[in-house]
């Protein structure tokens, strides 16, 4: 589903962030990207979202080269990918309901679909009673669950979770991982970055280890090694 073909990313005046990455992620996989801070995890994800362009090589989403898309096609591609971040990236001036409704409106869903789906997905992540709360009125775990709800609402083919548990306590971390596993069981591909050993072990799926911009290990049912 995602192919990195000899990708390098070099920021000006810095050592390379990524070097000669060749990586294939198939549909339905749950891939954990691990590595120290600065190993290149976030850069790798930014390349998939076309927030950054590779210095060398190509990144493919199925058969399309992500970095050759026009702004309009890119917008359409982003609707096929759900994203979850460490800092949640919720819209601060919108309620829980509106945050999710916005993602649906952006992808052109009808008012009827929005009305029926939003409460449903909020129930799914256990926020049914916080529909009209603003993000600052929610706890860290609740915000992350809201972000996950927003990521899955348009039934994306791929979910990218960049350190989703970085700001959460162990109980909330466990919950978030369980939700992601459930989503994966329903057939959605997941890319998760983390440096939390417990998270890797409780997922127990493929682990790709990055160090200094290179892939150093790629284990089928890996453990946290670095």
């Amino acid at each position: 589903m995602i192919y990195f073909n000899n990708v390098s990313k070099i920021y000006p005046k810095e050592s390379p962030a990524l070097e000669d990455i060749n990586l294939t992620i198939s549909a339905g996989e749950f891939v954990s990207l691990v590595g120290h801070s600065g190993a290149g995890k976030t850069t790798l994800i930014k390349l998939i979202l076309a927030e950054e362009h590779p210095t060398k090589g190509n990144v493919f989403f199925e058969s399309t080269d992500i970095h050759k898309l026009s702004a309009k096609e890119l917008t359409k591609l982003r609707r096929r990918i759900g994203v979850v971040f460490q800092d949640f990236k919720l819209l601060p001036n919108k309620t829980a309901y509106e945050n999710i409704a916005f993602a649906m409106e952006a992808s052109g869903k009808t008012d009827e679909e929005i009305k029926s789906d939003v409460p449903h997905v909020l129930d799914l992540v256990d926020l049914g009673d916080k529909i009209f709360n603003f993000p600052h009125q929610l706890s860290g775990g609740e915000r992350q669950r809201l972000a996950i709800a927003r990521a899955i609402i348009n039934q994306p083919e791929l979910i990218i979770a960049d350190e989703p548990t970085g700001n959460l306590d162990p109980i909330n971390t466990y919950e978030v991982v369980q939700i992601l596993k459930k989503i994966n069981d329903l057939g959605t591909t997941i890319i998760l970055t983390t440096h939390n050993r417990g998270v890797i072990e409780s997922v127990g799926r493929r682990v790709v280890s990055l160090d200094k911009g290179r892939v150093v290990r790629d284990d089928k049912d890996g453990k946290y090694v670095i």
């Binding site: 982003r78 990236k89 001036n93 009808t110």
Partner: protein, 307 residues
């Protein structure tokens, strides 16, 4: 789909206008200042135009006739001057009315009136007051009087003097002054409008700068540029509409006060001008407000939509 988008954009713009609270109020007030500058300039132009018309109205040339000139000669000349395209009007002042006017102008000046009585005869000749459409056109009128046309030739013997040459310096200076004042008015208006638009633009840019992170999130969620830009432009338009109402409200008591206290100073009543041109002024102000709000938002947000 288009109308659904428009509806959603308008609703979302309204909601964020309401939730942004202080930032929205600040933007409306700054826009109000810009629109007040524009409205003030409308009034300033009106005062200036009025003053210029007054000044130009006071400029004329007078042809004085000798006391031997017959009324028919004068009236013939009057008729031919009136045919000139540059001439707006000619007023005939007969010997008797010249005397009556002189007496009226000097009614408290006993010495002059006494001197006049002693002469016994009417020493004043008849005259024609010529008013041209533009101050610069008096030259042409004088040329005509000194020229070779039949009417001018027959009358030339009875013309005592034309006061154009005495007045020429004044007339010239007035026309320079009048066109200078007009040009200065335009330049000041232009500069003021540019400055106030820049202030408004900066304010709106700051308001959008606060929301730059949100814009990034909207892009990640898969919102198209038009859909991100729409609500911000809607907010800009709301600033403009509210500000134009506030501006018109401010100018109501303001011009009323100016009208009652400074009507003599300006030579016109600003309140009457405000009420009789209300809809034109309102239209200019509200259209400026909407255009400034929408365009500022458009430009400010474009920075964050590149890539």
């Amino acid at each position: 789909m288009f109308w659904v988008d428009v509806k959603r954009i308008m609703r979302s713009g309204l909601i964020s206008f309401k939730r942004n609270g202080v930032v929205s109020i600040a933007s409306v007030l700054i826009t109000t200042i810009t629109l007040s500058v524009i409205a003030s300039l409308i009034f300033l132009q009106a005062i200036l135009n009025f003053a210029l018309i007054e000044i130009r109205d006071k400029v004329d040339i007078t042809i004085y006739f000798t006391s031997t000139a017959t009324e028919t000669t004068i009236l013939d000349l009057k008729a031919s001057i009136e045919k000139l395209p540059e001439v707006e009007g000619v007023e005939y002042v007969s010997e008797e009315s010249a005397l009556a006017r002189f007496k009226e102008n000097h009614q408290n000046d006993y010495i002059t009136l006494q001197a006049l009585e002693e002469i016994g005869d009417n020493p004043l000749g008849a005259s024609l007051n010529v008013k041209a459409k533009e101050t610069s056109q008096y030259e042409t009128v004088v040329k005509f009087l000194e020229g070779d046309s039949a009417a001018a030739k027959t009358a030339s013997a009875s013309i005592d003097k034309i006061n154009y040459y005495q007045n020429k310096a004044v007339i010239d200076r007035l026309s320079v002054l009048a066109s200078g004042a007009e040009r200065l008015g335009y330049i000041i208006s232009f500069v003021m409008i540019v400055i106030s638009i820049m202030i408004t633009f900066t304010t709106i840019r700051l308001a959008i700068f606060i929301a730059r992170e949100e814009i990034g999130i909207m892009r990640l969620v898969g919102a198209g540029n038009r859909y991100i830009r729409g609500p911000f432009m809607m907010e800009g338009i709301i600033y403009g509409i509210l500000a134009s109402f506030i501006t018109m409200l401010i100018f109501w008591p303001f011009t009323y006060w100016m009208g009652t206290h400074l009507a003599d100073f300006f030579g016109m009543n600003l309140f009457t001008y405000y009420t009789s041109n209300f809809f034109q002024i309102f239209a200019i102000v509200i259209v400026s407000g909407i255009v400034i709000g929408a365009i500022s938002s458009w430009i400010a947000i474009s920075r964050y939509l590149r890539k």
